[in-house]
């Protein structure tokens, strides 16, 4: 990653429930993200990948707590920020996209209002200038400007995710966090959304942190990949290296359960008992 601007550095991040401070949900996680690059965090449900993303934004649920670790963004430690300071980071300098395009939009507000909201809050845009900017954003994500007055229920799942993307990039953030943004979508729509995200990332030179459980998606979008298992990063590196010669047994196991389209490779579910032995 030499020669590129380091955007984010996560150092020794650990997360525990308030009630059980010995139960490490995220255990000593460290990674970096550079401008114009995509880092994927891949792992199963419960591996701690979404918690890691939430912790970066200071959005951990109240029952959980960051035990240790720093989140350096542009050289500043976000964990030392007050909640007012964080509001200025969220949505403005770091954009977010979530998994469920059905539930993350407000059903009673039209698309143009929802996209415009962060522009008004963060950049003070109103009136004509706001309308023009919203129309431009819709066009960027591939939605006709006439749909600005549409409500979420009038849009398909893929279009809603495009609206979410328009909202997240509205303030031209330096970094984008995408938490399983295509999991609820059809494969064809998924391919379109992945292509759109990759294009926006390059054009705007954003750093993208992309969370997924599917190594197929990793292969399509990642520059670097971090494999998470039971709260820890067990393997990390450039995507070609990790896919080409996976070192950790868990990475190999996770790759083995992705069905290959040629149908040559037998499906192999993860043998957790065996993994426990290897880990021990």
């Amino acid at each position: 990653m030499n020669g590129t601007t380091e955007l984010l550095r996560v150092d020794g991040l650990s997360i525990v429930p308030m009630a059980r401070r010995d139960m490490l949900l995220v255990n000593d996680v460290s990674f970096t993200l550079a401008a114009g690059r995509t880092t994927c965090i891949v792992g199963e449900s419960g591996s701690g990948k979404s918690l890691t993303a939430l912790a970066l934004m200071g959005l951990l649920p109240p029952a959980l707590q960051r035990l240790t670790g720093r989140v350096m963004f542009h050289g500043n430690d976000l964990t030392a920020y007050s909640s007012t300071q964080m509001q200025d980071v969220r949505g403005k300098r770091i954009g977010m996209i979530f998994q469920e395009p059905m539930t993350s939009l407000n059903p009673v507000l039209n698309v143009s209002y929802q996209i415009g909201e962060s522009l008004t809050v963060h950049l003070g845009l109103t009136g004509k200038a706001l309308q023009t900017r919203v129309a431009a954003l819709l066009e960027q994500v591939g939605i006709a400007a006439e749909r600005a007055g549409s409500y979420p229920d009038e849009l398909s799942g893929g279009q809603r995710q495009r609206v979410m993307i328009a909202m997240s990039i509205a303030c031209e953030p330096a970094m984008l966090i995408a938490d399983e943004p295509t999991t609820a979508l059809d494969v064809t729509v998924q391919a379109q959304i992945l292509a759109l995200l990759a294009e926006l990332k390059s054009r705007m030179n954003m750093g993208m942190l992309f969370i997924t459980h599917d190594f197929g998606v990793v292969a399509d979008i990642a520059d670097d990949v971090a494999v998470m298992f039971r709260g820890q990063i067990v393997e990390m590196g450039a995507v070609d290296k990790v896919l080409g010669s996976p070192q950790h047994p868990y990475t190999r196991a996770l790759l083995d359960c992705v069905p290959d389209v040629e149908g040559k490779k037998p499906l192999k579910p993860i043998d957790y008992a065996w993994l426990n032995e290897v880990a021990a």
Binding site: S156, G157, T188, A191, G263
Partner: protein, 270 residues
């Protein structure tokens, strides 16, 4: 060539959607347009297509859960539409379904034993002890334990719930199981487990599957034949090997090209 257990000829189904001012107008949507398919005894027929292509409507029409506008469905040589209510109930024991959403398809107020055993009660199969024994064996077979019988659905993970859904369908010893996107809500690692379980059960119980999915990677591993649906029509049909190697229709090619990591993952894994 084995014989057909379920075959459909010329199925058509339209939905009317209100439109225009005050909903006085109506759009007619052709959900199924002259669809014919054959499911062979002991085999798996994959139905693939995008959202809105008519896959799930087809599943519901095949099981007579939705009335057809035209066409007929034959199960073991008998036209399902001509069966009386009582006869249809008997036939339904052999036509079971596994649903997509493991969270929405299980009644949260029922214990696992009740969920899995409900079909046995409805079809009057065995007395209470025999039923309990059957439920127990089925749960163990799908990888759950006896203790799970008295738990509620919310105490299980997504993958475990899908196992409960499979147990519920298979405890009746059906002949045909319609699986409507049974793994698309699951993590890839859990997906592999459920797919292998479905395959094993098919062999053991001689089941025939109609397997609906938008994910061609999954279908490649479970199906013998595939029907590709687009806008309510079957646009291409054939063996898995033939369709994946030489798709004739552009729509099928697009579906294949959309598979994530297709090029980079091929040969990359050990």
């Amino acid at each position: 060539m084995s014989e057909c257990i379920l075959s459909a000829r010329g199925l058509s189904k339209t939905y009317r959607q209100r439109s225009g001012r005050f909903g006085f107008g109506a759009n007619v949507i052709k959900a199924l347009d002259n669809v014919s398919i054959d499911l062979k005894q002991g085999a798996t027929l994959g139905i693939v297509g995008e959202s809105g292509s008519g896959k799930s409507t087809l599943a519901r029409c095949l099981l007579q859960l939705l009335p057809l506008d035209a066409g007929e469905v034959q199960f073991e040589g008998r036209n399902l539409a001509l069966l009386s209510g009582a006869q249809l109930r008997i036939a339904r024991r052999h036509l079971q379904m596994v649903f997509q959403d493991p969270f929405a398809s299980l009644n949260p107020r029922m214990k696992v034993a009740e969920i899995v055993g409900e079909g046995l009660v409805i079809h009057g199969l065995g007395d209470a002890d025999e039923r309990r024994e059957k439920i127990k064996r089925m749960l163990q077979r799908v990888g759950l334990s006896v203790e799970d019988m008295d738990k509620f659905p919310h105490q299980f993970s997504g993958g475990q719930r899908q196992r409960i859904g499979i147990a519920r369908a298979l405890v009746l010893e059906p002949k045909v199981v319609v699986c409507d996107e049974p793994v698309s809500a699951l993590d890839v690692s859990i997906q592999a487990q459920i797919l292998l379980l479905l395959k094993e059960l098919q062999q053991e119980m001689g089941l025939s599957y109609l397997f609906i999915s938008h994910d061609l990677r999954v279908v490649r591993h479970i199906a013998d034949e595939v029907a590709v649906m687009h806008c309510g029509r079957v646009v291409e049909q054939g063996t898995v090997e033939a369709i994946y190697a030489h798709p004739h229709v552009e729509y099928t090619q697009n579906l294949l090209n959309a598979i994530p990591g297709r090029h980079r993952l091929a040969g990359a894994t050990v």
